[in-house]
């Protein structure tokens, strides 16, 4: 699934993008010009579709060969991954190392991560309702607990200190922080 889901997403994206190029409005003067608002999107749509079809074809023709994932410049390597690399000399590709290991991790970790993501969505909603400072205090108090952080005193200190510190800094700089709809 890992090999097919992301390229399928890109295929639909570029298809949607290309179809919508025609819906870009053109003003009277630019319709006949050498380059107008549709030109670059049109080129990008065609190139994107061609590239993703080539990618899918390559994967289809040669399914046994794993899609190369040696993205050495993509620096998003987690510490656990780097430590695993140092300790384990296996030649797994990076996403295999990055995501494959998730299967072996306890279910508890998955549950905690999902809880964090769910609470993050609540946090986004709360920012509009309670304002940035109060919502952030709540987020920093509850999110570490959801991930299994046991030191309550540290959590309370961080959750109060950082958002309030930011609020004071912004107040000093004369930037107004909205207080949220519930608090007017």
């Amino acid at each position: 699934m890992r090999h097919w889901l992301p390229p399928t997403f890109l295929l639909f994206y570029f298809l949607f993008y290309f179809i919508n190029v025609e819906s870009i409005e053109l003003d009277f003067w630019s319709a006949e010009e050498l380059m107008n608002a549709r030109t670059l999107p049109g080129i990008l749509g065609v190139l994107g579709l061609a590239a993703i079809l080539l990618q899918l074809a390559t994967q289809y023709i040669n399914p046994s060969k794993p899609v190369s994932n040696t993205i050495d410049h993509d620096s998003n390597i987690s510490l656990s991954e780097l430590q695993a690399t140092q300790n384990d000399a296996s030649n797994q590709s990076r996403p295999q190392r990055l995501f494959g290991g998730l299967r072996q991790r306890p279910l508890e970790t998955h549950g905690r991560t999902l809880a964090l993501v769910a609470f993050f969505l609540v946090y986004i909603f709360l920012i509009d309702e309670l304002g940035f400072t109060i919502a952030s205090i709540a987020f920093l108090l509850i999110a570490p607990w959801l991930l299994g952080h046991k030191r309550l005193l540290t959590s309370v200190g961080v959750s109060l200190g950082i958002p309030l510190g930011l609020a004071v800094l912004f107040d000093l700089l004369g930037i107004y922080l909205p207080s949220g709809q519930w608090l007017g």
Binding site: A37, P41, G48, L54, D72, S75, S78, L147, V158
Partner: protein, 501 residues
């Protein structure tokens, strides 16, 4: 020039001006460390303070804020993988893996030394060549800019390893397509906004940068196995001294990055982002003699873009001070500050107000030294961010990413976009798609389209127009060489293998 330098030194070394430079550097450094608050925000916030000062003092302080913010911006890139400004994206490619592999102190120290060297080399070049370089900057017109953008985009071939070039290309196209969302700059008509007013200004760079780097990192950190703080304690937080091999390795990279960064910086519109990406891409062309591969915590991969973005900052003062042309958003604000002082920037500034020109130049020397001495003692303390347990660090990164996006616009739609972009970024990373080409495409997209449009208007579709543009042709050849480089390298290795057989 000696008279000018003495005049500048006499102005910069008065007690109050020296304190203002230090204050500007310190404020810029701390504001730059916060994801989302880059040099533009830092200068905009301090402009009202500068109005109470003499023009020389105000400009020295604001210039200090500018390079202080760029200097400090690398810290969040290295420690949190959260580049708050486009100029420090390339710093994260090797800085973050280096910090996470147990060398956070060394990574920050390399960034500090490289920034210092880049800034200082830039100032020397500014001092010696400013008037001449201004003429060169003017000879760069839309066709040359277009080719420079194409060269930058072709660097994905240098970035990508064998077998992942198609993915890198797809990500560039994805980034370019996202850059077309919003109001078309030529006609003023909306594109891909689907009637949403919030999309009229396009997608913010910060949203993409936070989603592709910091947010995905935080989610993966939360999902990863438990990392004990004890393990982190073994890491060298206090290791600021670089091994001889590392120093020998990064010195040429800093030299190359500084020169390239400065020359890219003098071109209006190109700026620190282009400079850091180009210098990183060019480093990929040089053989790796020490340490891990580029992208996996290589010191050279950190030093080159870091020196380039600082040198580019200094370079961007060339068109500002000699021609009155702002080369970037930040220098546009500085230009506004100059005009507010009643000073008309332009070629006459150098002659009519030598004290201003030379005091800013001298303040850059002083500022770079101040930043180095301010930064080095703080590194062991700043690097301790990595000792925070992941159960606390992951929520903190999420909160700072949200702060970086929300506190700029106060718009909930931006947060919804951030969440959606994070989901897409996680999906693409899961499939092994690189994120850096996506950001590169997004950053260069607008400039590419503007310059392509102008080039087509100038040439009227006539290809012979380009035959009279040697700079365009030279850049075109360089781009072609870069594209052919991987194939050429492959062919050479095949020939060598056959010869050995």
């Amino acid at each position: 020039m000696i008279d000018g330098l003495l005049l500048g030194a006499a102005t910069a070394f008065t007690g109050i001006n020296f304190a203002l430079i230090a204050l500007g550097c310190l404020a810029g450094m701390f504001i730059g460390m916060m994801p989302g608050l880059g040099p533009i925000s830092a200068i905009a916030l301090l402009i009202p303070v500068s109005y109470a000062l003499a023009p020389e003092s105000g400009m020295m302080m604001l210039a200090g804020v500018y390079y202080g913010a760029i200097f400090g911006g690398s810290t969040s890139s290295i420690l949190l993988n959260a580049p708050g400004v486009a100029g420090t994206v390339a710093t994260a490619f090797d800085g973050y893996p280096m910090a996470r592999s147990g060398k956070p102190g060394q990574a920050l120290a390399i960034a500090a030394y490289a920034s210092f060297a880049g800034g200082t080399i830039g100032v020397v070049l500014l001092m010696l060549l400013a008037p001449q370089l201004a003429t060169v900057a003017l000879s760069f017109q839309s066709p040359e800019y277009l080719m420079l953008m194409v060269l930058g985009l072709c660097l994905v071939f240098a970035f990508a390893e064998d077998g992942s070039r198609l993915k890198a290309l797809l990500m560039v196209l994805f980034g370019l397509s996202l850059a077309t969302v919003g109001t078309d700059r030529a006609s003023g008509l909306p594109r891909f906004t689907f009637g949403q007013m919030d999309l009229m200004d396009g997608i913010s760079f910060l949203i993409l940068a936070m989603a592709t780097f910091a947010m995905t990192e935080a989610v993966q950190m939360a999902a990863s196995a438990r990392i004990e703080t004890d393990q982190m304690r073994r890491f060298g937080f206090k290791t600021l001294a670089l091994p001889k091999d590392t120093t020998r390795n990064i010195a040429p990279a800093i030299g190359r990055g500084s020169l390239l960064g400065f020359f890219i910086g003098i071109l209006p519109g190109a700026g620190a982002t282009m400079a850091s990406f180009l210098s990183y891409g060019f480093e990929k062309l040089f053989p790796n003699r020490e340490g891990p591969m580029l992208g996996q915590g290589n010191a050279r991969g950190l030093a080159a873009p870091e020196s380039a973005n600082n040198a580019a900052c200094t370079g961007s003062f060339v068109p500002l001070l000699t021609l009155g042309i702002p080369g970037s958003g930040t220098t546009a604000i500085l230009l506004g500050a100059l005009i507010a002082y009643g000073i008309q920037p332009g070629p006459q500034l150098y002659v009519e107000m030598p004290s201003l020109f030379w005091s800013v130049v001298i303040s850059m020397y002083v500022g770079n030294v101040i930043l180095l001495f301010l930064n080095l003692p703080l590194i062991p303390y700043i690097a301790k961010v990595l000792m925070i347990p992941r159960t606390l660090l992951a929520p903190l990164i999420l909160m700072f990413s949200v702060a970086g996006v929300y506190l700029v616009s106060f718009n909930l739609v931006d947060l919804v976009l951030l969440t959606a972009a994070t989901g897409v970024a996680l999906l693409l990373r899961w499939g092994g798609y690189p994120m850096a080409p996506l950001l590169l495409g997004f950053i260069l997209g607008g400039l590419l389209e503007d310059n392509l449009r102008r080039t087509l208007m100038l040439s009227q579709g006539d290809l012979t127009y380009f035959a009279d543009r040697p700079l365009f042709l030279a850049l075109g050849l360089l781009t072609l060489a870069l594209v052919c480089w991987p194939s050429g390298r492959f062919l050479l290795s095949q020939i060598q293998r056959r010869a050995q057989a």
